[in-house]
């Protein structure tokens, strides 16, 4: 409730993170001697803004991939799309555990939007992941299905990436 008011009106200066913990993290740098209360306040607030930004972008990636659950891969894509963030975070992220995603690391930058494949074109992934006749039957002459077809190669990757990750509904 208080946080909702803060988000809408910006009146409250209630910090979301405990000050002591933020100070501990700042003090991990042995060069840090003293921190004023203003500096501590600003670091806490900027961290909240960064977290909101990261969560928002990750949610957008999940939506683009037709997913309701934000997972590790969505965060990685979101980080790659923002230059200042990727500069200091890309090396910190856990490496992709799925060998099924060799394409993404090789790409210099994540695409802001997946381009729909031209009519009749099939992604190479289909030959390896979707041998089902259902997709094959739909592919040739279904113009309305082209966007879905373009999206479908991503789904198996997400399914594989998501299956070992337990979903937490906290």
């Amino acid at each position: 409730m208080v946080m909702a008011d803060e988000e809408e009106n910006g009146v409250s200066i209630q910090l979301e993170f405990p000050k002591g913990r933020v100070k501990k993290i700042m003090a991990l740098d042995k060069d840090v001697k003293r921190v004023s209360s203003e500096a501590l306040f600003l670091v806490s607030r900027s961290t909240e803004l960064f977290l909101q930004f990261l969560a928002e972008k990750s949610a957008q990636v999940a939506i683009e991939k037709k997913r309701k659950t934000v997972n590790l891969e969505h965060i990685r894509v979101a980080v790659k799309r923002h230059q200042p963030t990727r500069d200091f975070l890309l090396d910190e992220l856990p490496p992709p555990s799925q060998a099924a995603k060799p394409d993404k690391p090789t790409q210099p930058a994540g695409r802001p939007k997946l381009d729909p494949a031209p009519r009749g074109t099939r992604c190479i992934d289909q030959f390896f992941r979707k041998p089902e006749p259902e997709n094959t039957a739909q592919a040739p002459g279904q113009p309305p299905e082209n966007p879905a077809q373009a999206q479908s190669p991503e789904n198996p990757d997400q399914d594989q990436a998501q299956s070992p990750v337990p979903v937490d509904e906290s």
């Binding site: 946080m3 501990k24 993290i25 003090a27 991990l28 500096a39 909240e48 230059q83």
Partner: protein
Amino acid sequence: MEDESHNNILPNGFNTGSTESPCLKTSTMTTQHNNNNNHQNHSNKEQDRFLPIANVGRIMKKVIPPNGKISKDAKETVQECVSEFISFVTGEASDKCQREKRKTINGDDVIWAITTLGFEDYVEPLKTYLQKYKEIEGEKLNIPKQLRSEQRLHQHQQNHNNNHDENNNQPFNGAYASSNLISQPPYVPTDQKFSLPFSPNSIQNQLRQQEQIDSVGHWYE
């Protein structure tokens, strides 16, 4: 690659980023080593290095679609990302202080660091929050608006001196100082009041804020 990235970040061409990285790693290793040897430290080192995952999850939920969910791995990764962000900003601000031969990181250093690191969009919201923060602090101290900013700086210095003296008498802070090899622990006693990961309610928080102010009542002198 990392060095190049840091060089790109700093227009002046300083290599502070590259020099900062090994320093951060050394600090982390030192902290972990001390935590392993210090039995008095009951906190889990993993928990100490990250922000509480409950807070992280709560904020994430507020910006994702109502029917969206967040996997546990995603929360833990974001938890690490935001802690890395704090260390990143702190390192830049600390470097600036050292170049200018100052010992205390202040608000301007943080804003400068955030701008340098490429998060310019955060500067205006931060200044707005800081202004409100000062207003609330000023109202509690009943200081005329004309003198608020000047006395704030003065009181901050007094505050740090006072906290430093108090910290010397605090066994917990003393233990922490020894474990981290920092002659002047940056902790203030009132932080203990905010150690709870959850805030019961706004009134309780306001009371704590007042208590925090009262703990430095010498400002009235």
